[in-house]
């Protein structure tokens, strides 16, 4: 690990050319599953959303959910893909208990959508990521590995499986190999996934919650020595489940592979697991062992042949692209290009917009999200979206300041409370007794005491050294536990001492 810390991506690209690729799985937000009427709601009790079809019981017959086809076509259209006029589902056979049928219904050589692209912005410059395919399949069940040290598959004694997720429509979006990124490879990966998530959100086809697994990324990375004719051997890092991790997974794989190659080693084509805590990857099962899936056309389903008129109808009804929406939003929110791209790349634009929608001014939303909240997220090394505060709570905080009920200093304490799970800003203000001091008698006493206790400071102020008033202000603030309004205190001192402050 010490050696890893010394090498940077800049060092890597001085000797090697990276090629990356991304496979993104997106659970569609349909009400019912892909091939049966079971509900798809997240977080239900285990195995309460299953039926003979998604459990693969004998005699059960799958029937395609038309909404899943529609959503997949809309995703394909938004990604500038060609929509197949005729395609089939295929059976992917494998023995793994996450599918009770011992196979997964997927698409193989006839995906619904092919050959598209997505333009993203990286460091203020446009970059085109080409899309290989968008296909539709069913999600698998969820395994809980018991007995292992960390709940991971390795070292587990046994596994417990919940099939609620099995059969939820899942769209797989695969990029073509992304070359020509150089040192920007990690940033391109992140920008692509960020833009894709915005696009999917705009289409309203999925809730795209990476932390809940409704959007999951596999990241392929390879390095070839500069000047080499062929690309290097790639590894596939599985289940990279945040925007930040996508960037880190590429970076850590580039650095790891460069060290292996520098030492004269060879990259093994394999699946690797990403560890959020250390931002590193470790070897998983070897890829070669698992490729014999014996795909064949799914006999229980007839082909899908989307009516071209329907496809055109869906195309005409597509929402504006995220880039168009962003330009409009940027103007509305009065954000600079830098602020805008920063918010977009951290995935916080939505938080920002929702804060404004909840009643805060753009200036106040900017002040809190780009100021205190960013500092706190950075300090904890998490995304803004992961902070335990909602846009509505930020707007409410802004409202309390605007009403003069708290000042900025108290607002920071309110933030502490909200982030610590003490409730909404109003509740924190009440529970912590943080309101700005409105009891004039107490304030008068505090000001009088400050003046009486500091005769030398008073003399300085009266002799023209007005900056010394800070000492008196500090004294009053201390006495009132920060709950006084600084401007009022200053005015009260000025009046008592008969000076202009």
């Amino acid at each position: 690990m010490t050696a890893t810390a010394e090498i940077t991506v800049t060092d890597v690209v001085a000797r090697y050319v990276p090629v990356i690729g991304l496979e993104t799985h997106v659970e569609l937000g349909t009400l019912s599953k892909m091939f049966c009427g079971c509900p798809t709601e997240f977080g239900a009790e285990p195995n309460t959303q299953t039926c003979p079809v998604c459990l693969g019981l004998p005699g059960a017959l799958p029937v395609v959910n038309v909404k899943s086809i529609e959503s997949t076509i809309r995703i394909g259209l938004a990604l500038n893909c060609t929509i197949a006029s005729w395609c089939r589902f295929a059976r992917k056979n494998y023995f793994y208990p996450d599918m009770p049928k011992d196979f997964q219904i997927s698409q193989y050589d006839e995906p619904l959508c092919t050959d598209g692209y997505l333009d993203v912005m990286v460091d203020g410059e446009p970059f085109r990521v080409e899309i290989e395919r968008v296909h539709l399949e069913e999600d698998t069940g969820k395994s809980l590995h018991v007995g292992g040290a960390t709940g991971r598959i390795h070292g587990a004694d046994h596994s417990l499986v919940d099939y609620n997720r099995a059969g939820i429509p899942l769209v797989e979006i695969v990029t073509k190999p992304i070359a020509g990124t150089g040192v920007r490879a990690p940033a391109v990966a992140r920008a692509y996934v960020t833009e894709l998530r915005e696009l999917l959100r705009g289409l309203n086809v999925s809730d795209v919650r990476m932390e809940q697994g409704s959007m999951r990324c596999d990241v392929n990375t390879s390095l070839a020595p500069k000047g080499a004719a062929a690309w290097g051997t790639r590894t596939e890092t599985k289940n990279v489940n945040s925007l930040r991790s996508v960037e880190r997974a590429v970076r850590s794989e580039m650095i790891r592979q460069s060290q292996v190659l520098d030492d004269g080693g060879r990259i093994v084509q394999e699946t690797r697991h990403f560890h959020e805590d250390s931002s590193s990857t470790t070897s998983g099962r070897s890829k070669e062992e698992a490729t014999d899936y014996r795909y064949f056309p799914e006999p229980d389903l007839v082909p899908v042949a989307p009516d071209p008129a329907w496809v055109e109808q869906l195309r005409a009804a597509l929402p504006d692209a995220p880039s168009v929406l962003r330009s409009r939003r940027q103007a509305e929110l009065g954000l600079s290009d830098d602020e805008m791209s920063w918010l977009a790349n951290t995935g916080a634009l939505q938080l920002f917009a929702e804060t404004v929608a909840a009643g805060a001014s753009a200036a106040d939303a900017r002040k809190w999200w780009l100021g205190d909240l960013t500092r706190r997220a950075n300090a904890e090394d998490i995304e803004l979206a992961e902070l335990a505060i909602t846009p509505a709570q930020v707007a409410s905080l802004v409202g309390l300041v605007a009403d003069g009920r708290i000042n900025d200093r108290l607002a920071r304490q309110v933030l502490d409370g909200v982030l610590a799970g003490e409730g909404d800003p109003e509740q924190v203000v009440a529970a912590r007794g943080l309101a700005v001091l409105s009891d004039t008698a107490a304030l008068d006493a505090a000001v009088d005491a400050a003046i009486a206790d500091n005769p030398d400071i008073v003399a300085k102020i009266q002799s023209g050294k007005v900056a010394a008033v800070g000492v008196l202000l500090g004294s009053v603030m201390k006495a009132t536990r920060g709950q006084a309004d600084a401007a009022s205190v200053r005015a009260m001192i000025a009046q008592r001492l008969g000076v202009e402050l």
């Binding site: 009400l31 009427g37 899943s68 023995f95 007995g147 040290a149 587990a156 596994s159 006999p299 007839v302």
Partner: protein, 117 residues
């Protein structure tokens, strides 16, 4: 995905070419993929039997002309779909009734990958 057949038809064509002589190794490989415990004697027995079955099916290739497209369904239907409407699920007790083992409302299965911890 280098090396895999690019279409399902090629895949089946590929399989057809392999059919003429299915080897013990082929049977052992398939048995492993299907998680079947096949004895040494059975490998020879099944190789011979599968050979006969596959050769019989391969006769289809003899009569398939260029003007006959590969068929995966007997009836020319497309777009059989259902609306996105929630239907009833099974009771979890019934779901788990057929499970060899259950724990905490989940199916309990043996350790999945045979790899050292």
């Amino acid at each position: 995905m280098a090396g895999r057949p690019s279409t399902l038809e090629e895949l089946s064509l590929h399989d057809r070419h392999c059919m003429t002589a299915i080897s013990r190794d082929d049977v052992a490989h398939l048995a492993h993929l299907a998680r079947l415990a096949v004895t040494e004697q059975e490998l020879d027995l099944f190789a011979g039997q599968l050979d006969v079955i596959l050769a019989s099916v391969a006769h289809v290739a003899d009569v398939a002309a260029d003007d006959i497209p590969p068929t995966t369904h007997a009836v020319p239907l497309t777009n059989i779909t259902r609306p996105d409407v929630i239907g009833p699920s099974l009771h979890p007790q019934d779901v788990l009734a057929a499970a060899p083992a259950a724990e905490g409302g989940r199916f309990r299965v043996p350790r999945i990958l045979n790899e050292p911890a």
